[in-house]
């Protein structure tokens, strides 16, 4: 599988990582190299095999559906790059 520049641009956008136009060819090359390496997986006969969801087959524990914490607004906001009036602040989203 070879990744072209358009695909590299699309993947970078999906990942929300800005990549300069001039860096896209190198990125496409690297991603293609890694995907080629992964293509060995096509040699394996996986007929009838279920994809693994959990490495240790355990039933997830349940607990009572009650609130166990809260009232920690200051702690939640303490590390925010921009917090105002008890909220996270971001650039304008809607015009």
């Amino acid at each position: 599988m070879s990744i072209d520049i358009d695909t590299a641009r699309r993947v970078a956008h999906l990942a929300r990582i800005a990549v300069r136009e001039e860096d896209l060819p190198a990125l496409a090359g690297e991603l293609s190299g890694i995907l080629t390496f992964m293509e060995q997986l096509n040699e394996v006969d996986v007929t009838g095999i279920e994809p693994m969801t959990s490495v240790t087959p355990t039933r997830l524990k349940r607990r009572a559906d009650v609130v166990t914490d809260g009232n920690i607004q200051d702690q939640i906001l303490a590390n925010a790059p921009d917090a105002r009036e008890g909220f996270f602040a971001v650039p304008k989203v809607v015009e």
Partner: protein
């Protein structure tokens, strides 16, 4: 007592209980060693005030006779663990300035047992790397050097700061984490012991996530006994981690009987890789002989899907990473890019993540994004998860046939030089994990034990793989190997 920082955890524990030393003196000895080891770049956030306060509290507990094994033991903590009020940034620019408001379960348990935190240890960014060169703090330098050569070597990765610090006696033990070999490879490169427990044995709560189905924390120590002691303090059920196993924690140290007579050691033929250095091959044969001399039975075994472990890992791990690392968006914590006039929220995300993540992390996020994207999910991600199921089945088959532990090399080579892999293909760097990733994919416990030196005077390690939840038996096999190998070499101090 001199050189208190050179003690093992077991020696320090015994000396503390006998009143021959104090947590204060142990801690001061380590702090002095750390101050003199700036050249190694292992400790990147220093917490001497916390260390001194914890040491004083530990001394009080010991005086009262209330002293768990880890009480008063000075440790280094990998930067991946969230520690309250102390920078915890996974060696990434994107978490610059982040000071968690909470404490990880592992450090909570260690501190509850009286352990002392000296500071935070460098690592590969988000634990993605095998050489510590992707850390935002610059690379950690191994205390080891090749004979007659002053070239800077890597301590391995991702827990490279932990490995360098323990190996250079800057602390008595350190926490590490292992997603594809990140405890065992650096332990092997620096001549120390590192165990990755069974998936679910140690809580992942408060450990910055890389690939959640593979990540496990574990101890990195000077001896197998120390690993047993420290692992006991780190593990246990945690309701805050839904994958944490609700199983009793055995006394791992008590399992170190040194008796493995009649145990069956599997030697997997698929691990005999083409182009494997003769020294690694010889070391493996010697290790096999040592276990045989101790009364174990050696059996040739086959793990037929071994070859596909690396490609499966490099689909599954980046897929999970792309999802886990989506949270770094410049909104809730860490770095946010300076925006230009007119930039909206998408530009904020894209610029923040481009500035905050290093090249290797970006590459893995994008690979993960690709293999999870519409049209490729089945071809890559689901196929990798099916292959993962087959890899686990390989191990289950040999364990069902009576194999107690599996012996393999830990790494395909000894430590390489900083920058030596700079022009290598990313895939070449990934080959470092070739002997270790299978264990993560199958969720098994694995341990690296220092077994010898190569012709250049650098440490080499062997890996033992155990049955799930049987870390005690695994540690006992490692203990036998450790004693037979008699590895006592230390790096010559040059820093």
């Amino acid at each position: 007592m001199t050189d208190l920082n050179r003690l093992t955890i077991a020696e320090a524990r015994d000396a503390l209980r006998k009143g021959e030393t104090t947590a204060k003196d142990l801690t001061e000895a380590c702090l002095t060693a750390i101050e003199g080891a700036g050249a190694l770049n292992a400790f990147v956030h220093h917490t001497p005030d916390i260390a001194r306060a914890q040491a004083a509290a530990a001394d009080q507990r010991i005086a009262k006779g209330d002293a768990p094994a880890m009480c008063g033991i000075p440790l280094g903590i990998k930067d991946l663990f969230c520690t309250r009020g102390v920078p915890s940034q996974a060696a990434s620019r994107i978490l610059e300035g982040f000071r968690p408001e909470y404490e990880s379960t592992v450090t909570t348990q260690l501190f509850g047992a009286g352990a002392v935190m000296l500071g935070k240890l460098s690592m590969d960014e988000f634990a993605m790397g095998s050489s510590n060169e992707t850390a935002c703090y610059g690379p950690v330098i191994s205390p080891w050097r090749r004979k007659g050569d002053s070239a800077a070597l890597t301590p391995g990765g991702s827990s490279g700061g932990s490995a360098a610090a323990v190996s250079a006696d800057l602390c008595l033990g350190a926490t590490g984490t292992d997603t594809g070999g990140s405890i065992r490879q650096p332990a092997a490169f620096t001549g120390i012991v590192g165990i990755k427990p069974t998936y679910g044995r140690v809580s992942r709560w408060g450990v910055i996530a890389f690939a959640s189905s593979l990540d496990q924390a574990g101890p990195m120590t000077k001896t197998v006994r120390d690993a047993a002691i420290m692992l006991g303090a780190m593990c246990g059920h945690d309701p805050k981690d839904s994958t944490s196993a609700d199983l009793p924690v055995p006394d791992f140290e008590a399992a170190l009987t040194g008796d493995i007579r009649g145990k069956v050691i599997g030697i997997p033929r698929e691990y005999r890789m083409e182009g494997m250095p003769a020294e690694i091959e010889a070391l493996w044969t010697q290790g096999t002989e040592m276990l045989k001399d101790a009364g174990a039975r050696i059996r040739d075994i086959s793990l037929p899907h071994t070859k596909y472990a690396l490609p499966a890992y490099y689909v599954v791990a980046p897929a999970e990473a792309s999802s886990n690392l989506a949270r770094y968006d410049g909104v809730r914590y860490g770095h946010r890019a300076k925006l230009a006039a007119g930039d909206g929220i998408t530009e904020m995300y894209e610029k923040t993540r481009a500035e905050g993540f290093g090249k290797e992390v970006q590459r893995r996020i994008m690979i993960g994004t690709y293999v999870l994207s519409a049209g490729f999910y089945d071809a890559y991600y689901n196929r990798a998860r099916k292959v993962r199921a087959l890899i686990k089945r390989d191990f289950e088959a040999v364990f069902a046939e009576g194999v107690d532990a599996i012996l393999t090399p830990a790494t395909p080579s000894s430590a390489f030089g900083i920058g030596e892999m700079a022009n290598a293909d990313p895939v070449e760097m990934y080959l470092n994990d070739v002997f270790t990733v299978t264990v993560n994919l199958a969720g098994l416990p694995g341990i690296a034990v220092p077994t010898g030196l190569d012709a250049k005077g650098l440490p080499l390690g062997l890996q033992l793989i155990g049955r799930p939840w049987e870390e005690g038996a695994l540690l006992n096999h490692a203990y036998v190997l450790e004693r037979a190998a008699g590895f006592v070499s230390k790096p010559q101090k040059w820093w």
